[in-house]
């Protein structure tokens, strides 16, 4: 597992083995890694251990947290990274060098399932320890049983004979337009709705979004975008 080596002006002060899910770093005595220095905030930063990797998160400290000289908010720690907090330095040693390719390589690439609850097989980590680490950092726990809601939106015709007509985009794929004139499709994905140009008849130009022609790639639609297709203007509206 990983460890941190605390130094000040080159002098080694302490070593910390990273065994549990989270370690707090700060000036106050209740921190796991206690650094008594005015440049360090009471609760300055957090180390989170998720399985084989360690992450650093700054806790809105006054003077900031630096990794290899760069100011960071959240950072996945790499071998030999040096964390600077105030004038103190914490060097991260991953301990991954021990996992030499060879005997370990076989299991290294094996796909395994990680599920809520206790360890189900040897070597398969428990989701509980992962979620503990994640929620320690203020993240939402991983719960695969909750399906993410799909986005909702509608189109409203803004011009021509059908003005005012609404169409809720409740299908995974909706085609719009007149074959031979102009056809576009709107796909619903987890992260939003995308419009893609399918075909244009001779001399009919290309559909536009907010006046700009839709290129060859699917374009993500934003709330209040105006689509013009085969001479008809339509507004795209997100629905909560």
């Amino acid at each position: 597992m990983g460890k941190l080596i605390l130094t000040l002006d080159g002098q080694e002060l302490a070593q910390y083995e990273l065994e549990k899910e989270r370690y707090t770093i700060g000036r106050l005595a209740d921190n796991d890694i206690h650094i008594d220095n005015m440049a360090v905030s009471g609760h300055h930063a957090l180390i989170i251990n998720i399985l084989k990797d360690s992450f650093l998160e700054d806790l809105n400290s006054t003077n900031g947290t630096y990794v290899n000289g760069k100011l960071v908010k959240k950072h996945a720690l790499q071998e030999a990274d040096v964390i600077t907090i105030g004038r103190h330095a914490l060097k991260y040693v991953s301990g991954k060098a021990a996992a030499a390719p060879g005997g370990d390589a076989d299991d290294f690439e094996k796909t395994m399932i990680i599920r809520p609850g206790t360890k189900s097989q040897t070597g398969v980590p428990s989701m509980d320890s992962v979620n503990k680490a994640i929620s320690g950092a203020g993240g939402a726990p991983i719960d695969e049983s909750k399906a993410a809601g799909l986005p909702r939106a509608k189109l409203q015709v803004l011009s021509g004979g059908f003005a005012g007509k609404e169409l809720e985009l409740n299908k995974a794929l909706t085609t719009l337009g007149r074959p031979g004139v102009q056809v576009a499709a709107v796909t619903r994905r987890a992260d939003g709705f995308f419009v893609v140009h399918v075909e244009s008849g001779q001399g009919h130009g290309f559909p536009t979004v907010n006046g700009k022609e839709i290129g060859a790639q699917a374009q993500k639609l934003a709330d209040n975008d105006v689509i013009e297709l085969a001479g008809v203007k339509m507004g795209f509206y997100e629905m909560k």
Partner: protein, 275 residues
């Protein structure tokens, strides 16, 4: 409807350089328009059993239900997915059920599971369904895109801001899927639909490919050999093996050759506006 001459399907599956056997299973069928890649996991040879059941079940289920599904002609079925999408989703749910039951009844198959990624092509469209970290990529107009989002611990952590996608590539927390077929009595299947455009190239693959080969190299290979899908598939497998081949590697490539629009009534075409 046969898609021969309208779609080009090529599939290759290799055990790689390290594993003693191949626990991936793939299939392509020009009669139904279905392509599948499944990556099995489990003790001893149970992974082979799981991925094999997944592929077989999907092909059987789709073959039995496809004619009926096509009759719906785009009218929204339940969940506002097309009838074809629902057929694909239900086929995967059925596979989950069979794998789960088999795992319970055979001690040497205990705990077995499989990822799956499948595409069903019809009417110049495609239904895409997946569970796990096997992927669908697509090249369209020179742009290379990963179409499916992995159901993996790594992806969850990227979504929560713990890793950037680049850092995720270097992580040792790879290959931990949060969803798979056969593990639980029910499973959540991700389903998408999209149009199929001339010039598209679709790549379904197990993680044995994308773990060994960078996206940029996958794209370059497909671009270079886009005129010969068979060569492209062989090259991808070779690349994965040359880079270590630490896992089974499977690739299925799909290229539309001609429009495969379903027949529609004269009046449907004329009066359609919103559909």
């Amino acid at each position: 409807m046969s898609y021969k001459g309208k779609l080009n399907f090529v599939g290759h599956s290799d055990k790689g350089m390290v594993r003693p056997n191949n626990e991936d299973s793939i299939s392509t069928d020009l009669e139904t328009g279905l392509v599948v890649v499944a990556d099995g996991m489990g003790g001893y040879k149970a992974g082979e059993v799981a991925s094999g059941i997944a592929v077989q079940t999907l092909n059987d289920f789709i073959a039995a239900g496809i004619k009926d599904a096509h009759k719906h002609q785009g009218a929204a079925a339940g969940d506002n997915f097309s009838a074809e999408s629902l057929l694909l989703k239900n086929a995967i749910l059925k596979a989950n059920d069979i794998i789960h039951q088999t795992a319970k009844s055979q001690p040497q198959c205990e705990g077995m599971g499989t990822t799956i990624v499948a595409c069903l092509f019809y009417n110049n469209r495609v239904s895409i369904a997946h569970v796990g970290d096997s992927r669908l990529y697509r090249i369209r107009h020179g742009q290379f895109e990963q179409v499916t989002t992995d159901h993996s611990l790594l992806q969850e952590l990227v979504a929560r801001g713990f890793y950037t996608p680049e850092e995720a590539r270097k992580s040792l927390n790879k290959n931990l899927v949060t969803r798979a077929l056969g593990i639980e009595p029910t499973v959540e299947v991700d389903v998408q639909e999209d149009v199929v455009m001339p010039g598209d190239i679709y790549l379904l693959c197990s993680d044995g490919l994308n773990d060994m080969v960078e996206d940029a190299d996958i794209y370059l290979t497909l671009k270079t050999f886009s005129a010969n899908l068979e060569t492209a598939a062989q090259q991808l497998v070779k690349l994965a093996c040359d880079n270590g081949g630490r896992d089974n590697v499977s690739v299925v490539l799909v290229q539309p050759i001609k429009s495969f629009e379903a027949q529609r009534g004269f009046f449907d075409r004329l009066t359609d506006w919103f559909s």
